[in-house]
Amino acid sequence: MNPNGARKSEAATERLTAPLGLTYMLGKFTEHMVPAVFLIALIIGLSLISPNFLSVGNFLDIARVASIIGIMAVGMTIVILTGGIDLSVGSTFALAGAVTASFIPGSFSDAPLVLGLDLPVPLAILVGLIVGTMIGFVNGFIIAKSRVEPFIVTLATMAFVRGLTYLFSGGFPTIFRPMPPEFEWVGQGNVLGLPTPTIFFALVIAIGVWITRRTTFGRSVYAIGGNEEASRLSGIKVQWVKIQAYSLMGVLAALSGIVLSSRVAAAQPTAGLTYELDVIAGVVIGGTSLLGGRGSIVSTVLGVFILGVISNGFNIVGLPTYYQYVTKGLLLIFAVGLDAHLRKTQRH
């Protein structure tokens, strides 16, 4: 039986699918409704309470901060979609930032291990990205080949890579005297009026959406998260897909770390500590299920902005920081509970 050789049968001419765009868009719309509505309600509420909130400058601030978490959250979405998780992103963030910084001309550190070697800025960035990819690859390899839970594996690499960062930097921050303008542009520049971190975030989102919706890799990711055994039995190269997913996570964590070290003009060995919580929270609150197979990049972007708006908005309104934690915690519980409920009702 081959569809390409078949003559048009009655059944085939019958429109069994709504025009490709419509049901697709409609389905995606309802999926994102809850976080979208919540985000809009948050924005409206905070604007009403404090007029300082509703300004272009403030929104750019939110976007700039959210971009750092957001770039990682895109990678985390793909990892979580496969049914896994990566706790080591904060450590990769720091190591890549430190490694790249050490190769940037003009960088300075009290650390004995930081080489005096200088590379052109793009190359220094590339080295950092490669470090991130390698860490991700190791994560993916161990997770794919052994039967150890991703949580445990990445918990271990989190500690290990953080240790490497301290070793490499000697515990000292790497600063710039001065920072070369090309590198300054990465974290502090502007493109068409938008801060560069936001541009990077937008690019990463676009690539993420393309990967998840339009590539065989993305399809495999969803399939593995939905039913790993059935995917394996359908010929999907499960191990290879997982390795790729974690490697991608690694490169994005590295990118984010490099952008931050440019922004704050220093590569701290303590950079990225506890960032994994915000990244994962952003993904989950946006609606992606921790069990895998359900979720999207768009929902993660919504989740990241919800968290960003809460942090920024609560500060502006004058609420103590503790309220942020409480709110984020409640949101997480709500999001996970909603996901569990939806799973139960959708699967008779």
């Binding site: 085939a12 939905g226 359908s234 190269k237």
Partner: protein
């Protein structure tokens, strides 16, 4: 005197499926009543309602003339209904006696938390003697064979003074001798006034032990008959709704070259398995549960490792280490459990259909969603899959349609050799016929089908040859003119000829 059990006009609907429509069942005291029907007919659902595991949507149940509203499994047990499920409810880590007295261990001096073990073991021994099982009540249940565990369940039912014992497909994993022991116990229970509802689709057994039988089909009651007065033709007509020759659209196909040659496959479970299959042929594989059929299929498909031996496809030696390899070499496996192994339920019909051949709808790793939609439309039409549109999530389809989606996936992978494990499990009669028709079309195109099935009529109806497995080895091979249920079962149970 009113009948012991009356279930009148029972209704039950699950999302998308009407499992039971106006089903009526009456069982007298001390009667062995068969509940017959194909897979998916509603037998299990009806019994689950009786046993309190499911709640009915409509209808009335009377026990001993009194109307009852069965609230749950414990309530059902209190009312005198004991059910022995196909999967058994024995807890392996506990002893036989603890299983018999599960939840009702005799108390020492009537005190809570203190157990009167002496009484427990003594009474267990008595009960075991009654059902003819000779084991020490202290034995951990894990050490018992399946047949003996079943006896323990029956002893448990007797202990609870059950009035009605429901046996759900009790003989699936039993040898001939064990089946006879079971029947002896059933007759014993019958003589003590206990009624038995014997759920099965095996006619031979029903004829031997049952007094009356009720036949279900597609959720409706077709009729209740006296077993002794019913002919084979009547049975088939009731259970299947059409004459036997209509059900299996088998036409002879010219056998082609050798497509698959398997030599000396040895693994933990398989012993020296060798056979070959030809183009245009349906090779049936029969055997009891646990005989190694699915293991063989998964091994050939690369889904299970640890086997030695050689496989040749089209005369060329094949190395199949993973399902991916198998698919590359033109082998497909339609697995036994479509929900757990065959489909990604959270994905759509469209996405499931293309999953084994993403290359066909993509270029350089990028999916062509329009092509994919066309492919999905084609198969939905060709296999008559009932779904409002191909963006429907697979979880929402009925069993038969889900199976068709799995088949569509493998058809699209363009495999030359299809291994199908239980092609029509849990599927209604109409869909069954369609699937058989599809298999016939495939072999007419020169493909090879290896069909594993526990349904003897299906094997006999559709296969060209049948190999029978027993405890990991090929016990026998039958050609079409040698087909019979007795021949297959005797090889499957390794009864020496």
């Amino acid at each position: 005197m009113p009948p012991l059990l009356e279930m009148q006009n029972i209704e039950k609907t699950f999302p998308g499926v009407k499992a039971l429509q106006g089903v009526t069942l009456t069982v007298g005291k001390g009667e062995v009543h068969a509940l017959l029907g194909e897979n998916g007919a509603g037998k299990s659902t009806l019994m689950k309602i009786l046993a309190g595991a499911q709640v009915k949507d409509g209808g009335v149940i009377r026990i001993d003339g009194k109307e009852v509203d069965i609230k749950g499994p414990l309530h059902a047990r209190d009312l005198g209904v004991a059910i022995i499920y196909q999967e058994l409810s024995i807890i392996s880590h506990l002893s036989v006696a603890e299983n018999i007295f599960l939840g009702r261990l005799p108390r020492l001096f009537g005190m809570p938390w203190l157990v009167d073990w002496k009484c427990c073991y003594q009474r267990s021994s008595e009960l075991l003697a009654q059902v003819g099982l000779d084991v020490d009540p202290r034995t951990p249940a894990s050490r018992l064979k399946v047949a003996d565990r079943q006896m323990v369940e029956i002893a448990k039912a007797v202990c609870e003074n059950a009035k009605i014992v429901v046996m759900d497909e009790p003989t699936t994993s039993l040898t001939q001798r064990e089946v006879e022991t079971l029947f002896k116990t059933a007759r014993l229970l019958q003589s003590r006034g206990v009624s038995i509802i014997y759920v099965s689709h095996r006619l031979a057994e029903v004829k031997e032990i049952c007094d009356r039988a009720t036949v279900l089909r597609d959720g409706m009651k077709i009729g209740t008959v006296e077993v002794a007065e019913t002919t084979s033709k009547d049975w088939v007509k009731m259970m299947v709704g059409r004459d036997l020759d209509q059900l299996f659209p088998k036409a002879p196909v010219k056998r082609g070259k050798e497509a698959l040659r398997v030599d000396n496959i040895n693994s933990r479970k398989l012993k020296n398995v060798s056979f070959c299959a030809y183009e245009g042929e349906i090779l049936g594989i029969a055997g009891l549960v646990g005989s190694g059929r699915s293991t063989l299929a998964r091994t050939l498909f690369g889904a299970q490792h640890g086997a030695s031996g050689t496989v040749e496809i089209g005369g060329i030696k094949a190395a199949i280490g993973t399902p991916h390899d198998a698919i590359e070499q033109g082998v497909a496996l339609v697995p036994e459990d479509r929900k757990i192994q065959g489909l990604v339920l959270s994905m759509t019909v469209r996405e499931n259909i293309t999953l084994a051949n993403l290359r066909g709808v993509s270029r350089a790793g990028q999916l062509n969603l329009r092509s994919e939609a066309k492919v999905a439309d084609y198969y939905v039409g060709a296999l008559r899959i009932v779904t409002p549109h191909t963006d429907q999530k697979a979880v929402n389809l009925s069993g038969g349609n889900q199976q068709k989606v799995v088949l569509a996936k493998w058809l699209y992978s363009d495999a030359k050799i299809l291994i199908i494990d239980e092609p029509t499990r849990g599927i209604d009669v109409g869909a069954k016929v369609e699937i058989y028709g599809l298999l016939q079309q495939l072999v007419e195109q020169g493909k090879t089908i290896i069909m594993i099935s526990s349904e003897l009529p299906e094997l006999i109806g559709m296969s060209d040859r049948i190999i029978v497995m027993h405890e990991g080895r090929v016990a026998g091979e039958l050609s079409r003119d040698q087909f019979s249920e007795e021949a297959i079962m005797s090889y499957a149970s390794a009864v020496t000829h």
